[in-house]
Every structure is written in structure tokens, then in C-alpha cells.
Subunit: 260 residues, 2 copies
């Protein structure tokens, strides 16, 4: 399993990915799922992957080598030379379709899932960061401010907290915190999602530094966040009044007194 | 879609089901999914259903009519005469298998899903309430105190709150409240889960009354719970400190001041 999120905020882009992969419950390992596709002064592009690891690795290798141009004049199309983020995600989608025709077909013949998806975030030149999701068929959607996050992998456990907590106008540090809370829920309910996590923060302000960080299994801040969140949810539950129509325990208590 | 939960606590059994059914997003309607299979002084048995509505209705009709006994002596086996909760869930499982062979087969031939599942809760005579989940194949599992809840339907959005909040020893009114919070999350993230909700509370104490209640779309308590929960989650998020390694906004502020 896998869980990756991308948050596209006014102040910047946040991407978080776990590292756990498994083929059955008896075969767990740790693989990086947040990949650097380009990281120069004029082009910073990152991708999270979920689904078949062999499919996604094959796609990344193909992109690394470059895809042939349509007229086949020998000049490869690469992430490094794509003129816009639109062309970058189109290139990745094409690589996905390529691998579908080869590895995907072979997997289908063995009745194995070849499903793969990507979150792609980044910017070229002076533009604001963009965020896209690329589906198994190679098609894509772009993230928009009305719903400023995208998820791939084990998305459901961690979605309610993002639905409630992520707003395009929020500070980046708050967004990273809410993103971690979303991972905390996903990890609690699915053993297939686990630390270490990889974090990327790309501020819209081009003068602010790019932040990448690995959150290890014993990360002190994440442990604190997880513990405090449990306590706070417990307190929040207690603060909500009980249903007014639930008088059962009250009645039992009264009867016990009357009997006593 | 559908969402149903069963909570098996020391003090009693709680079952909650939504009522929304849909065939595609353009065909929504409301159907009761919490069914009374028996409700006499010596036998109270209730079932929640999810999956194909035509399958589950067929199963319930078959149970209502009674299943033939193995030696076919003409005496029907029914929920009303089954000697134990074990035999009740076995009977329901057999009815599921029956309908799989008829309706399920026809649906499969049209490439339509015939998947169906049940939560069955109740008691016979003086025993404590029991809770079971019956799967599409007609097999079942029983709920146990180590993990005192079962879910069917759109289970993931509402699971983290149950994982954190439901304990076998908790008061029934608290459990109903946490159950409602789980529905609040599921309804927020999936339009296919919606009020009205049906609630059943069966106290272990046989002298306490059985409670059944419909929570309508404008239920005042549920609206309050939903609103307060949003506020409290927001407050809880704010109470958790931001990641110590996130100094980006701080740096931006300092730079802005220096530039100013």
C-alpha cells in the first residue's frame, strides 16, 4: 500500500509520501515514493507514485532516458527540456501509456494489477507551483484552489481531516501539520502505510528555500503530534454533549437506587 | 452507497445505518437498511444490509418465508424458531448463498455486482447481545471485545474515529455519540452516505428498554454534533505545535521586515 498527498496553497506546494511497499502481508519493504524529477534554479519538479512499483519505476526510467519525439529525429523529449508543466505531465502520461503497453500488458496476462498513479508538483521559471494527478490511463487532472489537495493510494482514512483542515490560504507550517495528521489516521488504520515519510515544501516565494525532509519512524515531532492528537480527539469527544434521547444509563442508575 | 456500524459493548449493542441508496449519481433514493428480524420478549434480532439492494431484499424475503429443512419435511426454518444466534446467522448465510445461486448468477451474467453483506445483532432468551458480520459468500464472523465494532459499506472514512473512540467498557450514550461522529465523517466525504439514519440501542440489562430512533436530515442534535465537532477539530489542530523544522514563514517575515 501507499499514501501520498499534495497540497497546493497560496503560499506554496506541500507533498508528503510514505515509503512502505508490500506484496502481500508477508513481504514488506521500504521504497522512496517521492522522486526528484528536476531540481535546478529554473525548474523544480517532484513526483509521488503509488500502485505497482515495477510500473512506476519503469515509467521513471523511461522519463530519465527521454521519450522519442513524434517525428523521430533522434532528439529525446525529457522533463529537463519540456517547455511547461503542462508538457511535463503530458510527457509523464505518455510514459505511463508506453509502460501500459509493455509491462501492463504482461501483468494483465498474469491477472496482476498494473494500476499506477502519480502526483506531480513543481514549477518552471518564475511561475507559481502547479500540482497534477496522473491516472493509470495516462490522463491527468490539475489541482485547483476550490479543492486544494490531491491524494493517491490509501486515500480514504486520511481524507476527512484534509476535507476539514486544508484551505488554500493557510500558512505552510499549518498545512504540513494537517498533512501529518492525515498520515497519522491512514497509518493507524492501514498497516500498509508507514513511516519513514518524505516531505517536500516548495514556497511560492522563490526566494524562500525549498525544504525536503525525511520523517523517520522515531521522529520526535511526529510522535508528539500523534499522541497529542489522540488526547485532543478524546477531549473533543467528551466536550460534545451526549444524545438527549439516550436516557438508558440514567434510568438504570435510578432503578438501581430504587432497588437498593 | 451505504454505511452501517455495529458496536458491541459491555453495556449493550448499538447499530446505526444510513438510508441512502443509489444506482449511479443520477438515481438516489432512500431505503431502510436497518431491519427488524424479530422483536418479541424472548428474541430481538436486527440486521443492517449493504451492497445490492435487490440481493438483500431477496435474502430478507426468503428469511421471512422460511428456509426448507435439510430433510424437506415441509417445516420451514425461520429466524423465529432458530434455537441460537449462531443458528440465526447460519440461516441468513444460507439464504445469501441461495440468492447468490439465483439473482447473483443472473447479475454476474450481466456483469453487475451482486455483492451483499449484513450486520446481524441481537439476542435470544437471557443471553447477552451478540453481533455478527455476514459476507457475500454467506460466511460470517462474530464481533469480539478486543475490537468491539464491525462496519459494512463505505467503511474507511468513518473508521479512524471508531478505532480511537470505541472501547468495550464505555457508556452507551458515549458510544452512540462516537458512532454519529463516524457517520459525520463518512457523510462529509461520500455523498452516497446520508441521513436519515436509523439507530438501535439494545442494553445488556434486559430490564432497560430497547431504543430505536430515526435521525432525520434536520435532526437538531446531529446538526449540533456535526458543527461542534468541526469547531473542536479546528481548535485541536491549532493546539498542536507546528513542525519545528518549518521556519519558512518566519524567514519570509524577517526578510520582509529587513527589506521594508
Amino acid at each position: 500500500m501507499t499514501y501520498c498527498i499534495g497540497l497546493l496553497l497560496d503560499l506554496g506546494l506541500v507533498m508528503i509520501a510514505d515509503t512502505r511497499t508490500n506484496a502481500g502481508v508477508d513481504n514488506f519493504s521500504s521504497h522512496r515514493k517521492l522522486h526528484t524529477l528536476a531540481n535546478g534554479p529554473e525548474r523544480q519538479i517532484f513526483a509521488c507514485t503509488s500502485g505497482s512499483l515495477s510500473m512506476s519505476q519503469n515509467v521513471l526510467d523511461l522519463l530519465d532516458e527521454g521519450l522519442p519525439i513524434a517525428e523521430d529525429d533522434g532528439i529525446k523529449r525529457t522533463i529537463a527540456t519540456a517547455p511547461s508543466m503542462f508538457r511535463v505531465v503530458q510527457l509523464i502520461g505518455e510514459a505511463v501509456q508506453d509502460v501500459n503497453r509493455t509491462v501492463g500488458k504482461a501483468l494483465a496476462e498474469s491477472d496482476l494489477s498494473s494500476s499506477v498513479s502519480f502526483l506531480v508538483g513543481g514549477r518552471i521559471g518564475g511561475e507559481r507551483p502547479h500540482l497534477y494527478q496522473i491516472y493509470s490511463a495516462g490522463n491527468y487532472i490539475e489541482c485547483s484552489p476550490e479543492s486544494p489537495f490531491l491524494q493517491i493510494g490509501e486515500t480514504k482514512y486520511g481524507k476527512p481531516i484534509l476535507d476539514r483542515g486544508i484551505r488554500a490560504g493557510m500558512p505552510l507550517s499549518e498545512a504540513v501539520k494537517v498533512g501529518f495528521l492525515s498520515f497519522d489516521s491512514a497509518m493507524r488504520s492501514n498497516l500498509g502505510v508507514a513511516r519513514p515519510l518524505d516531505l517536500l515544501v516548495m514556497p511560492t516565494d522563490r526566494e524562500a528555500p525549498l525544504l525536503t525532509r525525511r520523517i523517520e519512524a522515531d521522529d520526535e515531532y511526529f510522535n508528539l503530534l500523534s499522541l497529542r492528537w489522540s488526547e485532543l480527539l478524546h477531549e473533543a469527544t467528551e466536550l460534545i454533549p451526549n444524545p438527549p434521547f439516550m436516557r438508558i444509563e440514567g434510568e438504570r442508575a435510578i432503578r438501581a437506587v430504587e432497588k437498593g
